[in-house]
């Protein structure tokens, strides 16, 4: 990462944190309750307010430090920093993988943990650019291992697939318990 990109990222982060803490400060009256006649320190509002005030003070001080750092740059760097938003573009790159992840999550109650995990691992392996058969086998084996370890052996609570109900009773029970 270039130093100018890093500083752009820091500036954007400082602004976001300042805006977030200002929003929280503004929301204190509507999002917490105040009981008349109760001591200040016993109010439900007291503790969140202390946290938000602390957050705001540190966010302000951090913003100030970033601003001072930016203003100490020479003119050439300043132009570079304001022109480039490369770092902020990077922040959106995980969104693609968030979509894949949530698709996987939504697929589990339909396909069941085993099938959804196999599909997730194989498709993600292909998406990552691995084309060798050996890699796809490793990917499928990893998926199977994870399912067997967590669902079959450790009996972690993961919902069963909707299509399991279509199976004969004994098979459906077996699939629900193990996969």
């Amino acid at each position: 990462m270039k130093s100018s990109e890093y500083l752009t990222g820091e500036k954007a982060f400082a602004i976001l944190m300042a805006m977030f803490s200002a929003f929280l400060l503004y929301s204190i009256p509507s999002e917490t309750q105040w009981f008349n006649g109760m001591a200040l320190t016993k109010q439900p509002r007291f503790w969140p307010s202390m946290c938000i005030i602390g957050l705001s003070l540190f966010a302000f001080a951090y913003g100030l430090s970033v601003w001072l750092k930016a203003s100490s740059l020479d003119e050439c760097d300043k132009l570079d920093a304001s022109a480039e938003f490369g770092e902020i573009k990077h922040w959106f790159r995980p969104i693609e993988f968030v979509v894949y992840f949530l698709t996987y999550v939504m697929a589990v109650p339909w396909l069941g943990y085993l099938l959804a995990t196999l599909a997730y691992f194989l498709l993600m392996t292909l998406r990552m650019g691995y084309r060798k058969k050996s890699m796809l086998w490793i990917s499928a084996a990893t998926a199977l291992l994870i399912v067997v370890l967590f669902k079959t052996l450790l009996q972690v609570k993961i919902s069963s697939g909707a299509w399991y109900d279509l199976l004969p009773d004994s098979w459906a029970t077996f699939m629900i318990i193990n996969f």
Partner: protein, 502 residues
Amino acid sequence: MDVLLQSLDTFTRLDVWFALLAGSIGGVIIGAIPGVGPAVAIAILLPATYSMEPIVGITLLIGIYGASMYGGAIPAILINTPGTPVNALTTYDGYSMTKQGRARRALTLAYWSSFFGGIFSVVCLMLMTSIIAQVAPLFGSRDILMAAILGLVLVIVSHRGESLIAGVLVFLGMFISTIGMESIRYTKRFTFDQSWLNSGMDLITVLLGLFAMSQAFVLLIGNDSKVPMPDLKGQSKREGFYDLMKYKTVAVISASMGVIMGIIPGVGEFLAQFFSYNIANNISKKPERFGHGAPEGIIASEAANNAVPAAAMIPLLALGIPGEALTAMMLSVFYVHSIIPGPNLFINHADFVYGLYMSLFLVNVLIMMFLLVATRPLLRIIQIPQRFLGVAIMGLSFVGVYSLRNSLVDCMLCAGFGVFGYILRRLKMPIVPIILGIVLGNIMEQKFRAGMARVNDFTDFIDRPISFSIFVIIIIVLVVHGRNIWRGYKTKQAKQTTATDQ
């Protein structure tokens, strides 16, 4: 004595031994893979341990915690990439030794140093038990509140050069801990009329997002780098042990430093190895060798960081205050099984405490035995393609978060925190302060409310000897930190003036 025998009885059980083996071997493997680390592994395994008995679950997690640092030394020494962040200093001398054709010697030295640090720390923990058991009950709500504040202050000041952002993240974590229904008046706080926020944000969801998902994103977005296969043939396995014997003083000082730093909440492995490395450098007869393959450098780094896990158990068990992210995660396992760490733990669950000590001891022995025979196969693990690792971590994160309550919302939250963690990683900002903010913030609010019954004004918080002593320590820490910042500022100004004059 009865309690000790009762705790030994635990180790006749197969499930405990399975947890010991799985934790030790799994931890070494996890540590040896650059980019995974114990925090990711523990966050993923945490929900699975809820259904286990407390001693089994904690043993598994402790195994991973302790073993990962052993394993992390392997890539640090062989490919100049620390397996876990706390092995960073090992690269200085370890990789230099590899370049000089002494890789096997560096590895065995790292293993023996880690073993020494680990066992030294467990012995210290055992010896201190009677003192801890006597001192811990003296801590009241206000004392624990002050200790938690000290922990937060140390978290902030120990992030040198990034204290302000550490402060932002600590308070953000504390704020997150207040979301949801509060337990006294049952009023909603910052739920924005969203029913899914009524019970607050689950620590596991946040943890998995910040540690596991964000790391998965980093790996998925990055590139696979070709890792050369190191050659260990024809090198002696014993030299590392002889080196450790030769530099006993360095080993003892470093392990002691690890114990001290482990006990202090909020400090942890980084400062332990940093200080011990500097001390080893200062007392060395050949300080010029440091950074160029000095065995003392490896001893200092590895003995110090492996002494921390057992020592970090002291504030956790005695006061219920976690010193860093990993013990903060373990705290949730205690709570799930209604074992409340704190002053009464040594009275109500003494067998559990001794069982924990035994687990820590056995974990170190098992890891050492495993490493002495399995180093060569472990080298293959370093070569797992990074992006495939990202796919696996994301898949494993699903297990962790979805198994909590099969909720899509939890997964969305986890992904959201993952993106936030990814941004923090991009900007090289610390993640741990948020987690400690959440855990310590929660403890602080509880103790603050409990302490309020005996408090008329704020000076009553420090009218007890313990709380007053901790308060004085907080003031000293803040003054020293302020002085360091001022000195740094003056030095920087002097340098700028000199540069301008030239």
